[in-house]
Amino acid sequence: MGSVSEPQSPKASPASTGGAGERAFRWLTSGAGLVVVAAVVLIGVFLIVQAVPSLIANHANFFTSAQFNTGDANNLMFGIRDLLVVTLLSSLMALAIAMPVGLGIALFLTQYTPSRLARPFAFVIGVLAAVPSIVYGLWGILVLAPVIEPFAQFLQTYLGWFFLFSPGNISPVLTGTIFTAGIILAIMILPIITATTQEVFRQTPRFQIEAAQALGATRWEVIRMAVLPYGRSGFIAASMLGLGRALGETIAILLVIRASTSPSHGSLFDGGYTFASLIASAASEFSQPLPTGAYIAAGLVLFVLTFVVNAIARVVAGGKVNG
């Protein structure tokens, strides 16, 4: 999961190109590769095909409207403004927490942990990745949210003048906000960021580290002079992969963030829906084509968002991150 790699040059080939068996096998494997390409292309195509009729029938501006009214198929009014705000706020908050912590963990596991302990420690982080997202959502809303409520209250009382911490649209409730979701998402994307970053840090050329050590550098100076410059692009790529995961997270967000009747004004203490959680919440009502198409249009935007973020990750990594 979450890997970025350049195709390596193919392995050695025999002198003869072989007969019918060779050709058949070559076609079979190329066909499997094509299935992957086709899958991604078809996802885009079918989402567009299903979304366009609803977009045409839409009476509100798709990009600037904050409402999502699909109850009346003859008078569809839907826009993604609030979905975008909630999705970006929760994901960026998660990134702001998970990036420094993930970097720290990757350094701890590669530069500070004795090799005897590296395996069990990395396993611990791996367990974080193995916990299903519905369990994170469950734990987040039932266990974590009440515990961090006083902290949220504190932020709102003393930093409420700043728009991120101003009273939200589900005020005075402070559990089940974007803030809660941001923390849960941070925990969920931590293993992704850590795993990929760690892998790049391990590839730091030995001679660069030894050169720094020979100059009398302390451990931290070795990291600053050799490890970080080498691994920077990999770390950014890893963070992008984490962001992509956070943008598309569905069930944890659906369980954690409360619905809200008034539009968002950009506070972390708002409620509402992300693209993914809105689609999942309405899934049981997918019966008429036009209202369903409205949700598919939201899904299309999410697909484009994650496509772009993952493509950026790949370009930034430039083949350094592998496997």
Partner: protein
């Protein structure tokens, strides 16, 4: 220079290696503390989460009925019945995904490592990355748009399996690819030297050598898709009884059971089932993870 000539017997140590200045020492210490803290910060929620799931879930899963009975005929507030129907559904849906994703994934990995050349290989590799980033809800919507909206199928467990194929494929491909890369070229060349064609070399030499690693990747892919909730919300209805037929009718799965009980059943029995279901799901995912790591120990090639 002149000092060295004047007193050749004096060791060079004092001048050459000056002690590390206080500010550098402090910075170094601070960095050590910070990265250790970062690790601890990650461990706290993990332990906290596992402990709360264990404490609240164990009372549910210790009864024998939990593993052998469904919720058929059990009223929502009755502490009775089990999640056998949901476990069966989870495994059946994952199996359907595996039937498609494992062969396609392995073949695609073979293509990327052994044959991939030129533009198609570049595009394929790029698309594998994109596919691994496709959110599960988008994969579910795609299957919904294609099979339910356009082709007119009914909701079923089979469609969930198809959505899971999309999520499983990139995991299988990347893991297999990594393993194939590790197979020493000498093995391939030795086979070619004996006049064995490339495809037979791949089937008889390369894939068997990479087998344990590939199986590990497949197990990890299973572990990943079994916890997915978004596809089951969109593509299948919840059933309280056992349904082994993925092509017809509603079918439960552990995530769907947890979600349904959470959103419709506020009673104490519902709470018990929610946490019991969460613990059961973690246990099943963990079993696959452990199988994966045990198999990778027996790997014939190592990183």
């Amino acid at each position: 220079m002149s000092t060295a000539l004047d007193a050749p017997d004096r060791p060079a140590v004092p001048e050459t290696f000056r002690s590390v200045s206080a500010s550098r020492k402090i910075k170094n210490q601070a960095a050590t503390v910070l990265v250790t803290l970062a690790f601890l910060i990650a461990v706290i929620p993990l332990v906290w989460l596992l402990v709360s799931v264990l404490v609240k879930g164990i009372p549910a899963i210790v009864s024998a009925d939990w593993w052998t009975k469904s919720l058929s005929g059990v009223t929502p507030d009755e502490v009775r019945g089990g999640v056998y129907h949901a476990i069966a559904g989870t495994l059946i849906q994952a199996l359907i995904a595996g039937i498609f994703a494992v062969p396609i994934g392995i073949l695609a990995a073979v293509y990327l490592v052994e044959y991939g050349r030129g533009r198609l290989a570049k595009i394929t590799s790029f698309m594998v990355d994109i596919l691994s980033g496709v959110p599960s809800i988008v994969a579910a919507l795609f299957i919904f748009a294609l099979f339910i909206s356009i082709l007119g199928f009914d909701q079923s467990g089979f469609l969930v399996g198809l959505a899971l194929v999309l999520l499983m494929l990139p995991v299988v491909i990347r893991n297999t690819q990594e393993m194939l890369q590790l197979v020493p070229d000498e093995l391939r060349e030795a086979a070619y030297a004996l006049g064995i064609p490339k495809w037979k070399t791949i089937l008889r030499i390369v894939l068997p050598t990479a087998l344990s690693g590939t199986v590990t990747g497949v197990m990890l892919a299973f572990a990943r898709v079994m916890g997915e909730t978004a596809p089951v919300l969109v593509l299948v209805g919840y059933a309280r009884a056992i349904n082994f037929n993925p092509f017809q009718g509603n079918m439960a799965s552990l995530p769907l059971l947890i979600y349904t009980e959470l959103s419709t059943n506020p009673s104490a029995a519902g709470q018990l089932r929610i946490w019991g279901g969460a613990l059961t799901l973690i246990i099943i995912v963990m079993i696959f993870q452990i199988i994966a790591s045990v198999i990778s120990r027996f790997s014939s090639i190592s990183k």
